[in-house]
Structures are given as structure tokens and as C-alpha cells.
């Protein structure tokens, strides 16, 4: 099984469009939407629901006012500023349980709460796992890990050879959970200083965890000079650019219609480039299986 994560650093560079388009050209993969704060891949899928589960995220403390003697020990020992005036702020509470440990009267209890939902859909190209973390909830990294585990289990049981991950923006907790142990990162960037800046942070992250990474520049022709600069920066880092996707108004049309780009505009320039990138990733992954060596992208 090959695990490919589509990431970006900067948000809004076209990760979901890329994943939905590449998946269109395949019929034996499992899709995992790991952007659990803002899961949009399922909007393009038109899939049939298979299962739905509750995500019991983190423990939250609560204080029983009947037993509380207002000693203030819980407040003093909370490292997250989650207790003020002997009340627990559920948004700040990380569920560590320090307050329960220090409470002399046993007034603090910890309970698990439902903080999201995990879904499996059947699509024409294979199953899709995605999750909805309720707004304002924490522990997104843990939910990402669950989504990935479920996707990998499905790949085994359904006999699929690829898990394709639609990742979150950033380089923090959910991003790290999305890339840990994958075989390849495809970074989608855009020709701008921000795109480049955040791409370099992502490349550093990939280095840090020793994960092969390659790059595709989306809307490259919006600023060919900047695209050239980004490719040069990547080259200096030993990272290859596997694709240049042109700016294509059909992309906006397909997003508004909530359908994968190639299903509506199979001959559009962006769709053709996503197809080419996908074939390249696939052939590189096959080489890996054949030789038993790690992907040589750098």
C-alpha cells in the first residue's frame, strides 16, 4: 500500500481540487480528508454513506460545586488557564486531569465528550473517509490519526493499493499527523511570496521527518517569473517540481458545481495536467514497489 499526502503549507492553493481530480483517474484508492477543521473533499464526491461514528475527542474537567471548598488548588495547577473563578472553560481545557489530581475533596471529575463525527462514503473511485471536528473543538491531530488509520484499514480490507490524503494547511499538529509515515508528499503551491514561504516551511517539515516530497505549482502562469523562482528554490533544496498546472477558469466552474474537474471538463488544461501528475506519481510509486527501495525524489 502506498500512502500519498497532498499538502501545501499555505491554505487555498488547490489541495482539494488536486485530490478530487487525481482520484477521478483511479478506481482502486482510498481517499482520506485529513483537513478535519474544514473538510471539503466530500462536497465533490457524490458518494453513498457507508458508516458514521462519533468522535469522542478529549476529556474535559467539571467541578461539582457541592463538594468544592474553593481552595483554588485546581486553578493554581492548571497550565492552560482553563479554570477561572472555580469554573472550567471547556474551550481551553486540554483534559490533562491535573485539577482532579490536586483536588482535596474529589470535586473534580473528567468526562469524555463528543467533539466530532467520522464518516465513510462509497464513491465511484473507492471509499472515502472524512471527519467533521465540531467548530471550536481541540485535538484535531488525534482525529486525523483516526481518519488515517480507518482509511488504511479500508485499503487492506477492500484491496486498494493507494491511500490518497487531502491534508490540512499549516505545519502544526494536524499537518504532522497527516504526514507521519506517508511514502510521499505532493506539495501544491501557488506562484506568490506567501506560497513560496509556506512551501519552504513544508519542505523543512518533510526533511525533519525524512519523508520524500515533490512539488506542483498551481496557477503557475498567473506569475511565470515567481513560478520560476519557486522551482529554483526547490531545486536548491533538492526537491523536484513534477507539474505546472495552468490557471483555468473551468476549475472555478467545477467547484461551484461541486464536482471533480475532470468529470465536467475532461479536456480542460488543468485536468490534463492533474492527470499527467497523477500518472507520474503512480509510476514512481510502482518503481518503489518493484525495487523495494524508498522513493527517490531527492
Amino acid at each position: 500500500m502506498i500512502r500519498i499526502a497532498v499538502m501545501s503549507g499555505k491554505g487555498g492553493t488547490g489541495k482539494t481540487t488536486a485530490v478530487a481530480s487525481m482520484a477521478w483517474y483511479s478506481d482502486s484508492l482510498v481517499l482520506a480528508d485529513c483537513d478535519v477543521d474544514a473538510a471539503n473533499l466530500a462536497l465533490t464526491a457524490n458518494g453513498r454513506p457507508r458508516t458514521k461514528d462519533d468522535y469522542l475527542g478529549a476529556y474535559t474537567a467539571s467541578i461539582d460545586p457541592q463538594l468544592c471548598t474553593e481552595c483554588g488548588k485546581c486553578e493554581d495547577n492548571c497550565h492552560f488557564e482553563a479554570i477561572t473563578d472555580l469554573k472550567v472553560n471547556a474551550i481551553h481545557c486540554e483534559g490533562c486531569g491535573a485539577c482532579r489530581l490536586v483536588c482535596p475533596t474529589g470535586a473534580v471529575s473528567m468526562s469524555l465528550k463528543k467533539s466530532g463525527e467520522i464518516f465513510v462514503l462509497d464513491t465511484a473511485h473507492g471509499p472515502m473517509v472524512y471527519a467533521d471536528l465540531f467548530p471550536g473543538e481541540s485535538n484535531s491531530g488525534k482525529l486525523v490519526t483516526i481518519v488515517r488509520r480507518l482509511a488504511e484499514d479500508l485499503a487492506k480490507s477492500d484491496g486498494m493499493d493507494i491511500v490518497l490524503i487531502d491534508g490540512p494547511p499549516g505545519t502544526g499538529c494536524p499537518a504532522i499527523a497527516s504526514v507521519t509515515g506517508v511514502d510521499l508528499i505532493l506539495a501544491i503551491t501557488e506562484p506568490s511570496l506567501s506560497g513560496e514561504h509556506d512551501l519552504m516551511r513544508l519542505i523543512e517539515l518533510a526533511r525533519h521527518f525524512s519523508i520524500p516530497i515533490c512539488v506542483a505549482i498551481n496557477k503557475w502562469d498567473l506569475h511565470p517569473g515567481m513560478s520560476e523562482e519557486i522551482e529554483e528554490s526547490c531545486r536548491r533544496q533538492g526537491v523536484i517540481t513534477v507539474g505546472r498546472v495552468p490557471y483555468d477558469p473551468n476549475v472555478m466552474g467545477s467547484i461551484k458545481a461541486m464536482r471533480p474537474l475532470p468529470s465536467m471538463f475532461p479536456e480542460s488544461p488543468a485536468a490534463l495536467e492533474f492527470h499527467r501528475i497523477w500518472k507520474e506519481l503512480r509510476s514512481r510509486s510502482k518503481e518503489r514497489v518493484g525495487s523495494g527501495l524508498s522513493l527517490e525524489f531527492d
Binding site: 501545501s8 503549507g9 499555505k10 491554505g11 487555498g12 492553493t13 482539494t16 478535519v36 477543521d37 474544514a38 471539503n40 462536497l43 478529549a58 476529556y59 495547577n77 497550565h79 474551550i91 486540554e94 490533562c96 486531569g97 491535573a98 489530581l101 490536586v102 471536528l133 467548530p135 471550536g136 473543538e137 481541540s138 485535538n139 484535531s140 491531530g141 490540512p168 494547511p169 499549516g170 505545519t171 502544526g172 499538529c173 494536524p174 499537518a175 504532522i176 506562484p191 506568490s192 511570496l193 506567501s194 514561504h197 509556506d198 516551511r201 523543512e204 517539515l205 526533511r207 525533519h208 521527518f209 496557477k219 498567473l222 506569475h223 515567481m226 472555478m252 467547484i255 461551484k256 461541486m258
Partner: protein
């Protein structure tokens, strides 16, 4: 007056709007870039950086000479960050949240809390603005402590450029603001993620209003969501390929659309009336 510029979905134009607003107001203010996983505002405001500071979180140190390997810390750690390996107890750096439970439960007092750097904050000036941004260290997972540190730099007038998403980093950035300006794009993705962000603002009791960026004029889905939620649409910024071209090289919205300056000024007056 603290204005948080947030979005839910990434890449909708938070940084562009936050920078344009700060420049349009043209008065002394504090600009805080809270997107510590991908800080970009400095590329547009080009501040002169004057000061760096490391952000530390509490981190356990296990004195193995007093540890009798009872395993209490391993049992009680809610984050799975303590591991017993042979005759040692090891802290898994990436899982530790610095809560201090290991120290509290250790019967031998073998655990003490030290500090560990997870990132840096940078301080500077951009014209008449004070400028702050933060940077999460590569491979570190916890952005919230850096955001918390940045938010200690409060002032009479503050513009906060928030990270995307609707979980802890976004919540931490928006919390305590007088108003949240939610930047969205008129697509089903934008609408879906805007809805989550409106819920966050409601939970935090922060009033909010919407800026529709890259508008093609026909933004019915966003407008009907806003009407249903009772959230005002404050400004529409039309789609213009020239914006993307200027943005690529660090140009601001105001350079391409000078008329926006007055509109942002007016919007700010409107926000003053809507704030908490």
C-alpha cells in the same frame, strides 16, 4: 478595539484584507500575525524587525537516580507522552503538552518541570504600526502557546491576522476580540467553512461580519447563509486577475484597488458600531 481577521478555509484572503485594513486606517496600531504555522503578513507590510523571543512551554525532566520506575506518570499522562523503556522513563517530546501531571503523581518527586522552546516571536515596526508575528519550530505541533504569547501584546487598536481552521489555533486567536471579520470566497468550500467559523464566533461571544473576496457579483450562497445566521456582509472585493499578479510579489490590495481604502475606512466605522 481588537479586530480579528479570520476565515475557516485557508487562502481566502485573510492576510490581504488584514494588511489592507491596517494600511487604510493609517494610524498608530498594533498588527499581530497569529498564523504561526505560515506567517505571511510580513511579506506585505515589510516591517523592520527589532527583537526576537523564544516561547517556552513547561517540560518534564525525570531524575532517573530518584525514579523507581513505578509507572504512575506513564499511567496518568493523558497524552501518551511518558514511556517506560527498560530501566528508563522517557518523555516523548512531540506528544507532551506540558500539563505537569507527571510531576504531580510522582511519589518519589523525581519529576521536575523545565522549559522547552517550541517557537519564536518576532517584534518590529512597519511605518507607524507595531508589528508582531510568531514562528512555530519545524516539527513542533503546538501553536497555541505561541499565539498566547503574541496576544499579550495588546493595545488600544489591534488587528489580528488569524490562522485558518476552526480548532484550537483559530479559537485562541479570535477569543477576546471585539469583532471578527470573516473573509470568505463565494464557493461551496468557502460557504461550508464560513459556517463553522460563524459557530466559533458565537461560542466565543465575538460579534462577526463577512467580507466576500474574489466576488463575481453573484454571491447568493454566501449571502443566504449570512442572512440565515444574522451576520452582516460588510464588503465585497471583486475578482481581478491583477490582484493575483500584484499579490504574487508582495503587493497589497490597495495598490491595485485604491478605491478600497475609503471602503475599508467606512467598514471600520461600521464595525465600531457592531462591536461587543
Amino acid at each position: 478595539m481588537i479586530v480579528a481577521v479570520a476565515s475557516g478555509k485557508g487562502g481566502t484572503g485573510k492576510t490581504s484584507v488584514a494588511c489592507a485594513l491596517a494600511l487604510a486606517l493609517d494610524r498608530p496600531l498594533t498588527f499581530i500575525d497569529c498564523d504561526v504555522e505560515g506567517a505571511n503578513a510580513h511579506l506585505f507590510l515589510r516591517p523592520l524587525m527589532t527583537f526576537n523571543e523564544e516561547v517556552l512551554i513547561p517540560y518534564p525532566f525525570v531524575d532517573l537516580s530518584s525514579c523507581d520506575l513505578c509507572g504512575k506518570c506513564v499511567e496518568e499522562c493523558h497524552f501518551g507522552a511518558m514511556l517506560r523503556l527498560g530501566k528508563k522513563v522517557k518523555v516523548m517530546q512531540n506528544l507532551c503538552h506540558g500539563c505537569g501531571v507527571c510531576r504531580l503523581v510522582c511519589p518519589k518527586r523525581a519529576v521536575s518541570m523545565t522549559g522547552r522552546a517550541v517557537g519564536t516571536i518576532h517584534k518590529g515596526v512597519a511605518g507607524i504600526m507595531r508589528f508582531f508575528c510568531g514562528e512555530l519550530m519545524t516539527g513542533e505541533a503546538l501553536s497555541v502557546p505561541i499565539i498566547k504569547r503574541l496576544k499579550k501584546e495588546m493595545d488600544d487598536l489591534v488587528i489580528i491576522d488569524c490562522p485558518p481552521g476552526t480548532s484550537c489555533p483559530a479559537v485562541e486567536s479570535v477569543e477576546g476580540s471585539d469583532f471578527a471579520l470573516l473573509v470568505t470566497e463565494p464557493t461551496p468550500f468557502g460557504v461550508h467553512d464560513l459556517e463553522g467559523m460563524i459557530t466559533v464566533c458565537r461560542r466565543l461571544e465575538v460579534p462577526c461580519g463577512v467580507v466576500i473576496n474574489r466576488s463575481f457579483g453573484d454571491d447568493l450562497d454566501v449571502e443566504s447563509l449570512c442572512a440565515a445566521e444574522g451576520v452582516p456582509v460588510l464588503l465585497k472585493i471583486p475578482f481581478d486577475r491583477k490582484v493575483a499578479e500584484a499579490y504574487a510579489k508582495g503587493g497589497t490590495l490597495l495598490e491595485v484597488m485604491p478605491d478600497l481604502e475609503e471602503q475599508l475606512d467606512e467598514m471600520f466605522l461600521e464595525i465600531r458600531g457592531l462591536r461587543r
